[in-house]
Assembly symmetry: C2
Homo-oligomer: 229 residues x 2
DNA sequence: ACTTTAGCACCTAGGTGGCAAAGT
DNA sequence: ACTTTGCCACCTAGGTGCTAAAGT
């Protein structure tokens, strides 16, 4: 994921569906993001792999994203897909916007927390999530990601551009078109169709680096991750 | 105020500051809009006045705008200016977006409600606001307005365009400029400066019809209206 | 004759990756 | 040598009054 000083959304956003709550009980739902290991990484271009590049940087202030619909009844939470699309990541350790602070070039995993109202009334974006009975945490292995300040890998860039509506300007039908490749493609029938293969390869690339898969997970637990499209 | 089928914001938005709450008590804050009288109005162009045009239309479903920061502690409410700028008005009696339903060509007045949490837990956009101890209502005479589907009065239109950032495209420096008046104004020094007086008159026009004044009211009560600019 | 609607051009507000420059 | 920053064009999303046409 890209992180910036001003704060950047995750894409795709974490989306989750809950069942098994008490419909009449009030709950907070929150997300935090924890390190996967104690390492710092670098991307090795020639092998297209993330490699360990030393130990993790010193810890950053822990932050919590409280879902903006909180608090709400179990009934309300269960009726909707719960989206974390407004959550923002930053690399600014002095951030005062309540964004989640992460180190660049580290591996992280988001966690979803379901917190019974009476256990969460002192919940705060800048305090760690309480633990104990009445608080449950969920995470999904396929949502592990690596933080960057600029994409390391053209395949990831391509996925972002193809899927994120806000990046439509960079799609092939956008302005890159009529830049260079567009001309090549427009006149492709004039030449051996070799170059286009480069693009047709992309759907099958091994997933790496940034987010790992886009497929649904139907969890046997109470939460299911709606990571899709 | 303009009302439409899809819903239209009020402009300027109602803004309010509260004091005297219990800092540690939780409150909801809500707004509803009630008829000023039982009449329907029409605008008489030659006299520049709203005149009674019969009795009010039959009542519409009552709606409540619950301030999106609700519920929050007294401390939180008192620390900020509370703005109702996301509230929307509609003339669609079958509205299912939770907007406030009003009749066109009627006079209305917004009311602000401060509701102690334990009295407001069954608050709903489509239910009337509960009454009793723990619920207080405030309203400000200068915020009475008349609903329309199209402005009746060039002075009101002008105020809206001048003050609302979203209407910048209609300002004199916008595209009307270079239309007609702009040319006149550009060459004003070529002619007797008679026409410009028409514009200089505007700041002093008697307020009428739509919203009545823009000045601050510093209420002796616990709420003060921040209607300004 | 008066009121309402639907589509429009023109804005605000803010989310994208690209890219050259700066930082380390 | 590698990483980060700041600014940019290009988008999405949605709030304005205008206008011609439709409704009543």
């Amino acid at each position: 994921m890209i992180i910036t000083k001003a704060g950047r959304r995750m894409f795709p956003a974490m989306r989750v569906k809950i069942s098994g709550l008490d419909p009449h009980q009030q709950y907070y739902i929150a997300m935090d993001i924890v390190p996967v290991d104690n390492k710092r990484y670098r991307y090795v271009y020639h092998s297209s792999k993330w490699m360990v590049a030393g130990n993790a940087d010193s810890p950053v202030p822990p932050r919590v994203y409280i879902h903006p619909d909180s608090p709400a009844s179990g009934e309300t939470w269960m009726r909707q897909v719960i989206s974390f699309d407004k959550l923002k990541l930053t690399n600014n350790e002095l951030d005062d916007q309540g964004h989640i602070i992460l180190h660049s070039m580290h591996k992280y995993q988001p966690r979803v927390h379901v917190i019974r109202k009476d256990c969460g009334d002192d919940l705060s974006p800048i305090k760690p999530i309480p633990s104990g009975e009445g608080v449950k945490a969920f995470s999904f292995p396929e949502t592990v990601f690596t933080t960057v300040t600029a994409y390391q890998n053209q395949q990831i860039t391509r996925l972002k551009i193809d899927r994120n509506p806000f990046a439509k300007g960079f799609r092939d039908s956008g302005r890159n078109r009529m830049g260079l490749e567009a001309l090549v493609e427009s006149y492709a029938f004039w030449r051996p169709s070799l170059r286009t293969l480069t693009f047709e390869d992309i759907p099958g690339i091994p997933k790496q680096g940034d987010f790992k898969t886009l497929k649904n997970l139907h969890s046997p637990l109470k939460l299911s991750n709606c990571w899709s499209t």
